[in-house]
């Protein structure tokens, strides 16, 4: 009997990720991996510009995607113990595994750092990477991902895309999208490993060993849904997992230096886009046939988007340094030489002021001051000669959301004496966690006027609170 070929990938996190070519489903997925859109992920860094702070964090969306598939396969082995052994269940499980593999295939250059650019211009495909992901999965021309999926099973591309777009809310979707999904289980551990931080450890094997499937109380549609639940011995592992995800935000994902670099890149690309839209391509420093120029002319063109990746954006910096536009030239130089704007942590100042004035943190007071300062700075930036002199960064992360209108599928449930209990009701640490809010302004090192304006605006907002 001939040996069945196994496609093997060595991974720093999971060690060995295999695709068994003797299995028609995995053989099909390996074909998907070989497509141009999936291969593009090799050139998209998982953490955008985080390597400005963590030089080891240069890993790609490609290996993360394979890792999510590998983790989803582990989760699915647990699911399969609880569902009937029927063809419709098998195909649903396979659709979720394919969705796990493909969930990030539409990420733009620099990962999440590119999306605000799309949002600011109302470009759908790059404004939210899920839109581009969906378009790639549903594309059925010859050799495209959608065609490969549909050749495996009629209508399979739609099944996969529908899971990524959020429905139906089955246990299979939990594998791809929940507070305990394969994506999160991969990225927290991978980003920790590659960044080199020693925070945010996850007791993965123990979590998996204690994972079960449970049936929830009826939700607002009156449906009892199945989802992942953890045994009672995993309460602290679950608590640690939630804390770990949370800790990654201030220390890695929302690190002030990384975000400062991203803001420079976004502001620079925004100006380039405006120049192209105004017909001033020559002033950008880019040639007419540069992938970025083509993209800014046709931001919703799938073929044009397929040429965009980190190497295109970072490789454009030497050209953009030759731009006639002062901002583009300056920001491109700063990004190429890591001479970033200086961060002013306004959130810390506000929190300190609230504590001094009220004795305890007040979420509404924070939002009022942040909103006031933001608006005054935006009004200042709209004045002549103020363009790009202050870059603002606001970001929020809730470590664990209480059960709200979205329903019970988003919670982490603990199996406790025959009933299911929200982790918040078993872990005082989880119940007590607040919201992390980043609020910063960035100014050039010698721009005393801009710095002074930020300082005075912040002081006035605090004084007037």
């Amino acid at each position: 009997m001939p040996d069945v070929k196994r496609q093997r990938v060595r991974d720093p996190l999971h060690n060995l990720i295999e695709f068994n070519e003797g299995n028609p489903f995995e053989r099909m997925l390996w074909r998907v991996v070989k497509t141009a859109p999936f291969q593009r992920l090799r050139r998209i860094r998982q953490l955008g510009l985080s390597d400005f702070v963590y030089p080891g964090a240069t890993h790609s969306r490609f290996i993360h995607s394979l890792g999510v598939f590998h983790t989803a396969r582990q989760l699915m082995r647990i699911v399969q113990r609880y569902v009937p052994d029927q063809p419709e269940e098998h195909i649903s499980a396979e659709a979720a595994l394919a969705a796990a593999l493909l969930h990030d295939v539409g990420h733009g250059p620099l990962s999440h750092a590119f999306e605000p650019l799309g949002k600011s211009f109302g470009w759908k495909l790059v404004g939210e990477h899920e839109n581009y992901t969906e378009a790639l999965i549903r594309s059925t021309e010859r050799g495209a991902i959608g065609e490969i999926l549909n050749n495996y099973h009629e209508g399979f591309a739609d099944m996969v895309a529908d899971i990524i777009r959020g429905g139906p809310a089955t246990v299979y979707r939990s594998v791809v999208s929940s507070q305990f999904d394969a994506d999160r289980l991969d990225y927290v551990r991978r980003d920790r490993l590659m960044s080199g931080t020693h925070l945010a450890g996850v007791d993965f094997e123990w979590l998996i060993a204690n994972l079960e499937i449970g049936e929830l109380q009826p939700d607002n549609s009156g449906v009892r849904r199945k989802t992942f639940v953890l045994g009672p011995k995993a309460v602290y592992a679950a608590e640690s997992f939630i804390t770990s995800v949370f800790q990654m935000y201030p220390t890695v994902y929302f690190h002030k230096t990384t975000r400062g670099a991203e803001k420079l890149a976004q502001a620079m690309l925004q100006e380039v886009a405006k120049l192209v839209a105004d017909g001033c391509v020559a002033a950008t420093g880019l040639p007419e046939n540069h992938p970025l120029t083509k993209f800014f002319k046709e931001p919703e063109n799938l073929a044009v988007l397929s040429e965009l990746d980190d190497s295109v954006v970072l490789g454009a910096l030497p050209l953009l340094r030759q731009s006639d536009d002062k901002l583009v030239k300056d920001f491109a130089t700063r990004l190429q030489t890591r001479r970033l704007f200086k961060a002013m942590d306004l959130g810390v100042l506000i929190i300190k002021a609230i504590a001094d004035q009220a004795g305890r943190y007040d979420e509404h007071a924070f939002l009022r001051m942040q909103g006031d300062i933001t608006q005054r700075i935006e009004d200042w930036l709209a004045q002549a000669d103020h363009r790009g002199r202050i870059l603002l960064d606001t970001a929020t992360r809730k470590p664990y959301k209480p059960i709200e209108e979205e329903g019970p599928m988003n919670q982490i449930w603990i199996h406790d004496g025959g009933k299911l209990v929200d982790i918040r009701d078993r872990s005082p640490a989880v119940a007590a966690t607040g919201v992390f809010r980043a609020f910063r302004a960035y100014v050039a090192e010698q721009d005393d006027e801009a710095r002074k304006f930020v300082e005075e605006t912040t002081a006035n907002a605090i004084k007037g609170a």
Binding site: P168, N220, S221, G371, P402, E405, G407
Partner: protein, 177 residues
């Protein structure tokens, strides 16, 4: 707090206006989102851009502005407990004038008084139609099979027809497939 910048007030006031047009109260974040989406689709609102999330059309900018409007006291938010265990938000606005456009007010009130699941289905189908999907209702049913079950898809179609009528046909017609 020192006086709020006018530009900020102008940005947040439309949310209070929608709640006032609804009669002073909108129950649920989802309903607020879908109501503002339909107002946007009908051309009565222009400020918020919507994308597609798990629960249909959703605007992150609207969600952020809503939190900010609550923080500034332009609207109020009360958390309530649902029978199924979750919590939901009830938004109210201080008394004030309603919009000058009767069709805008009728659409807002019809949306705010409708069943939340039917409104989500109707808004989703309208969004998919705007995105050029040839069979928006069928696709809505495929994406949300549980919510579309038990005759709810047909009732959502009826709801959309009522909303469109309330808007004086400012909402676009969408295919019934």
């Amino acid at each position: 707090m020192s006086e709020m910048p006018k530009s900020l007030r102008d940005r947040l006031n439309p949310i209070a206006q929608v709640i006032r047009d609804a009669g002073g109260e909108i129950v649920g974040r989802t309903k607020l989102q879908k109501t503002v989406y339909l107002l946007t689709l009908a051309g009565f609102e222009k400020q918020f851009r919507f994308g597609y999330k798990h629960y249909g059309p959703f605007s992150e900018a609207l969600a952020d502005a809503t939190d900010l409007a609550v923080a500034f006291g332009l609207i109020f938010e009360h958390q309530q407990q649902a029978a199924w265990g979750g919590t939901y938000s009830v938004y109210t606005a201080p008394p004030g004038e309603q919009s000058a456009q009767p069709s805008r007010i009728r659409l807002t009130q019809a949306a705010a008084q409708s069943d939340a699941v039917l409104l989500e289905l109707a808004a989703t189908a309208a969004y998919l139609a705007q995105e050029g999907k040839p069979r928006p209702w069928a696709e809505t049913a495929r994406r949300k099979p549980d919510k579309a079950a038990n005759g709810r898809l047909d009732r959502a179609k009826e709801l959309y027809a009522q909303l469109r009528e309330a808007s004086d046909n400012a909402l676009p017609e969408i295919r019934l497939e």
